[in-house]
Amino acid sequence: MMLQPGILALLLGSGLGAVLLAAAVVPAVRIIRRWDLASGSEEQLRLERQTYLVAAIMRLVMGFQIVFLFLFLQTVDGLAPMFIGAMCAAGSLKVNGFGYPALVAKILTCLLAGLWLILDATDNRASDYPLIRTKYRLLLVITPVLLAETALQALYLLGLEPNIITSCCAIVFSAGGGTVVATVLDVPLQLSRAAFVLSATLTLAAGWAVYRHGRGAILFATASACHFLLSIHALIAFISLYVYELPTHHCPFCLLHREYGGIGYPLYLLLLTLAVTGLGTGLLHRYRAVPSLRTVIPAMQRRLALIALAANAAFLLLVTGSMALSNLRL
């Protein structure tokens, strides 16, 4: 293993996060089994008190996951010079088979934690905790995902050895590079561009429909999810080219480097935001028939749609801005 402060911090931090969430499972199970709002028994009062602890833990875990994701990218990128052939995070992650899965798992936990917080906020607005069991069942789903992510990250970090020859992003992210990611680039440029523009328009329109008229939540959620994936594809396929001003540099990780203004960070943060809020809108739609949520859910959906629209608009602005200001002409 490579002994490095960043790696130690990641291992400690993720470990603590996993311990916290695992500790929350115990009250969660008890609440799923014994919750009875109508009873005034001491056990019920105890369970109600524990909901505050679980909610606080979840908020903490969510906040930490974002910090850890940032630290992970920073550390992994900083380690690139240690591996022959790597020039940015793309190469570092390829050093062993756990790198990319760890990254994907991290993003997944961020999304799931965000959805949980949306459910929690909605549940708290109703006077009878209608979603309490749903919430805690979701928690029981998130916990193994987070534990898996911690394990994957640990396996990745502990398996890093500095002399391993790996590939640089130019090879990983080039057409015919023989990786799953490289198949992204086998798609013709015009198609990628068209798909991106279409997806952006659809998502904005659906979001507006939810915000203004309270309709089309499921469509909006689906569109947001697709747009999230298509935006990542677009970043690799053509947007990054404009940022780097090189027709062959497709790497999504070099966007985080200081020489490009670290534009990758706001871009990815905005993408995460629009994914969580879009999916959240769809998730809430399932429960709109619950009597105590009848007014709560449309209001929440409207608010989420507004945030999603703002994130979407900001993302498009950043992207078109960098493309317009670039010296590259494709």
């Binding site: 402060p5 931090g13 505050y52 602890l53 910090v67 920073q74």
Partner: protein
């Protein structure tokens, strides 16, 4: 939205005033917290700054150096290797280098002696670095050597070779020149009885950066007793060493970190009767559990932010303005000629993130359950007295 903000503001106000009221209790924790951040930040800043300096320094070193090994140890390189290497495709130039270590028994210091083409026409003259100029012999008063002073050297036959100082390298370059002495080729060969036709190593310039590794491989094949050393390899090794050292120190500080976390947890669980009464009153007059939890959150955030910024600021001063005064004994080791250097101040967001995860995260995790426990005090406890 407006209400939510006002609520936050009110609760934050009250939290800050209650922290001020209980200054004494919180002070001990704050000091330890700041100390932990300070130590960790100092280590991180120093390691990163040294890495940066190393990279800058190495930027001017040759891309490829060829050494020769005999029985696994470095040996002199025959100058005739120059021709065969120069013929390899992609090689722009090959030059022999003459340098070595000279042990000055009078001062106990070891100098790096190097031949400079600039002194070729000036036998008897040397250029010295800051550390050399400050050399002193035991029993003699210290007086820095300057232009015109004579430094006596012992040559290979036991005779004395006095060399006159032509100039001293500027202080800004001390990290690289502290122990450096530049001499002419004739003086060098006399001092060491260096055989003609040999060099210490060869410097190879490769036209295309991407071909360096290939050229190095070709040189190995051409001369099996040679060892080509790529600058990239050196850089990588330096990075690894600094990272590793940084990591080791962080592990060593893990004990301090654990003690700090236990202190934080202990303080959070051991609510004084006064604090418990206060929270009971707040709950009784209409504060909800989430309001009290928010107050506890702001409390932790205020303490953490204070300790974090203070610790980072002090570490910044420590590393960049006092040249890591506290770590000097550990960095200096056995070196007699310790360079005086000023590192370029720079703080990266990544370092702050590492600091945050190593300090604020454990603190928050340790205090969350005690905070919750105190926030869930029943409102009617204050009635039932």
């Amino acid at each position: 939205m407006r209400r939510a903000l006002e609520r936050q503001r009110h609760i934050l106000d009250f939290t800050l005033s209650s922290l001020a009221r209980r200054r004494g209790r919180n002070l001990a924790l704050l000091i330890v917290y700041t100390l932990v951040v300070f130590l960790l930040a100092s280590v991180l800043f120093l390691a990163a700054a040294l890495k940066r300096e190393a990279a800058l320094v190495l930027a001017d070193t040759p891309d490829l150096i060829v050494q020769r090994l005999t029985a696994g140890r470095q040996d002199l390189v025959p100058i005739r290797y120059v021709e065969s290497i120069a013929r390899i495709r992609g090689v722009q130039a090959v030059e022999p280098r003459l340098w070595g270590y000279y042990f000055d028994s009078l001062s106990g210091a070891t100098y790096t002696l190097m031949v400079s083409a600039a002194l070729a026409d000036h036998p008897g003259a040397i250029l010295i670095g800051g550390g050399v100029s400050r050399r002193s012999e035991p029993g003699e008063p210290a007086r820095p050597l300057g232009k015109g002073d004579v430094l006596p050297f012992k040559d290979a036959d036991g005779g004395v070779l006095p060399l006159r100082v032509q100039g001293v390298f500027p202080a800004a370059s001390e990290l690289v020149t502290a122990d450096l002495v530049l001499v002419s080729a004739t003086d060098f060969r006399r001092l060491f009885a260096f055989p003609d036709g040999q060099a210490t190593d060869l410097v190879v310039r490769v036209r295309n950066a991407r071909e360096r590794a290939t050229v190095a491989a070709k040189i190995s094949r051409l001369h099996p007793d040679s060892r080509p050393v790529l600058r990239d390899d050196i850089l990588r090794t330096y990075e690894a060493v600094f990272d590793w050292r940084g990591g080791v120190i962080v592990l060593v500080l893990a004990g301090a970190l654990l003690a700090f976390v236990i202190l934080a947890w202990d303080k959070a669980t051991g609510l004084s009767a006064e604090e418990r009464r206060e929270i009971g009153i707040l709950k009784a007059i209409g504060w909800e559990t989430s309001d009290v939890l928010l107050m506890k959150f702001w409390e932790g955030a205020a303490v953490s932010l204070c300790a974090f910024f203070l610790g980072v600021f002090l570490a910044y001063l420590h590393v960049f303005f006092t040249s890591s005064l506290l770590f000097e004994p550990f960095l200096k080791g056995w070196s007699v000629l310790y360079p005086r250097f000023r590192l370029t101040p720079q703080v990266q967001l990544g370092q702050l993130a590492v600091l945050f995860v190593l300090t604020v995260v454990p603190y928050t995790v340790a205090t969350i359950v005690p905070s919750w426990r105190s926030a869930t005090i029943d409102p009617d406890t204050v009635m039932r007295r």
